[in-house]
Amino acid sequence: MDVVEQELISKSKKGDLLAFEILINKYSKQVFNILLRLLGNREDAEDVSQEAFAKVYKKLHTYKGNSQFYTWLFRIAINAGKDHLKKKKWEYPLETLGEDSFSFLQGHTVDPETTVINKEKKELIVRALMELNLEQRAIIILRDIQDFSYEEISRILGISIGTVKSRISRTRKILKEKLINKPYGLGKDE
């Protein structure tokens, strides 16, 4: 862990909110995006990620520095997301997703280069992601969207590397099947 981060953490522990704000800014994009894909909409993602950071600040004194700060942080964020979904009782929020996923895709600044097919592809994959269960979704987000190594993922989720590997390959297969069977399936446009 780099020295600057360590300094920021110890300052935050003493109640220095300015230092903590720097930490937030450093990790906010990752936390927000993990929760965005986990929860499926921006409003919830924003609320829960803020909640997660507040929780991190509160629990900072329990962080002893034996693990990487970001793995600890992302673990708290993912758990917050899980709790949120449990609370809302939509582990599979597909029904509510329909309009929602559209709106956030349209709201998102679209690269002018992106073709219509690409757009559709993206929409499909986001939909497919939301059809997965929570554990599968979390592992795909961490591996393919956030690009974490198996080891990092195992630390964040608190599972063994073997489990991480098998879970990834299983989930990828599920996703592949889902996408191929769609009308604009990926297998057919090549």
Binding site: L17, F20, E21, I24, N25, S28, K29, Q30, F32, N33, L36, R37, R42, E46, S49, Q50, E51, F53, A54, Y57, K58, H108, N118, K121, K122, L124, I125, V126, L129, I140, D144, I145, D147, K165, I168, S169, R172, K173, L175, K176, L179, I180, L186, G187, E190
Partner: protein
């Protein structure tokens, strides 16, 4: 490398995590096996699509919002921090109230005094009270001598009875009735022992606006007659007559008196016969003791005689005023009542402040013990 082996490694192949040899092996197999090639392409495509999901921008003012949230929570925590102290305070109050009966007792006492003030206590002790009493005692002495001689001469066994009566009357005009009673009592050889007059305040808006209180003494033989006559001064609400028979006590005391007298006479005889100064002194001491005792008994008998020959009647007079016959406007004393109410409120407020100050002072010893406990509990709680 066969198809099955390839399937197990396809993820690592796509993620480019394999060694050079393995990569070469997979490439070679893919060129040969169309099925695996298709599978790989589909998988690669899927993963690429997932990877094409870009990271979205963080909402605006994200970190500031979190900091704000943390700050407000801190305030909440501060409130929580006071919770154990508040609990200790309440426990302390309970303990003090248990140990010292009620912490309100002080306030209660002062409150009653103030509520007495409400009545605008106008206890006018009649000026001629002392004269009356003096005269009464004089009369009592006279009659005592009469009755005493009768008792002694006639039957020893005559009952010694003290009569007492309490009479409550509703009257139209308390002062008028009081004067009438006083005159009547004097005519009948009695006297007024004490008289009080309370003028009730109109804020109470009760039926009875004022009441008076009289204690009169009348000769025992006229007791019943006076009671009956007094009832004519107003509407009787309650009467209570009681008699106490003190014959036995009286006789005991009298016989004691007799024996003391005999003792006294004997001692006087001895004193005359005595020759030694030492003996004389001893007899003298004994004589003075007997005399003192005799005096005491005489005083007691006097008191009994007075009680017996002069019965006590307590008269309560309540002024009902005019009930339904005339209109009585309560607005006449509006300003006065307002100022009274204002003063009452201020008094109450001062009492409350006084009570709180006293309570805090009382709490100090408990605080010394309990505050560290509360602090300790809070620390444990946090953990």
């Amino acid at each position: 490398m066969d198809c099955k082996e390839l399937e197990g490694k396809i993820d690592d192949y796509i993620d480019e995590l394999l060694s050079v040899e393995e990569t070469v092996g997979i490439k070679r197999h893919l060129e040969q096996c169309e099925k695996c090639q298709n599978n790989y392409r589909e998988m690669k495509n899927t993963v690429d699509t997932i990877k094409s999901i870009e990271l979205e921008k963080v909402p605006e003012n994200f970190s500031q919002k979190i900091i704000k949230q943390i700050k407000t929570r801190k305030k909440g925590n501060k409130m929580k921090r006071f919770l154990p102290y508040a609990a200790v305070f309440i426990v302390g109050v309970l303990i003090t109230s248990l140990l010292f009966k009620s912490p309100l007792s002080n306030a209660y006492v002062s409150e009653t005094t103030s509520s007495d003030e409400e009545f605008a206590m106008d206890s006018r002790v009649v000026t001629d009270f002392e004269n009356n009493q003096a005269a009464g005692i004089e009369m009592a002495k006279e009659s005592k001598e009469d009755s005493l001689t009768i008792v002694k001469d006639e039957v020893f066994d005559i009952d010694k009875i003290i009569y007492q009566g309490t009479l409550s009357l509703d009257v139209e005009d308390a002062n008028k009735a009081m004067e009438g009673i006083k005159d009547y009592v004097k005519e009948n050889g009695g006297f007024v022992e004490s008289s009080d007059n309370y003028n009730g305040s109109h804020t109470d808006s009760e039926l009875y606006t004022s009441h008076s209180y009289l204690i009169i003494r009348v000769p025992a033989e006229k007791f019943n007659k006076v009671i009956d006559k007094l009832k004519e001064f107003g509407e009787e609400t309650s009467t209570n007559i009681s008699s106490t028979n003190i014959s036995t006590e009286y006789r005991d005391i009298e016989s004691e008196k007799e024996s003391l007298k005999i003792q006294q006479d004997r001692l006087v005889d001895y004193l005359k016969k005595a020759e030694k100064i030492e003996d004389m002194l001893t007899i003298e001491t004994e004589l003075s003791r007997v005399r003192t005792e005799l005096n005491r008994i005489n005083t007691q008998l006097d008191h009994y005689d007075r009680m017996i020959s002069y019965s006590t009647i307590t008269v309560n007079l309540r002024e009902t005023g005019t009930l339904a016959t005339t209109v009585k406007s309560p607005f006449g004393k509006l300003l006065e009542n307002i100022s009274k109410g204002f003063i009452q409120s201020i008094n109450l407020l001062l009492q409350v402040i006084h009570f709180v100050i006293v309570l805090i002072a009382r709490m100090i010893p408990f605080a010394i013990i309990l505050l560290p406990v509360a602090w300790f509990v809070r620390k444990k709680w946090k953990k």
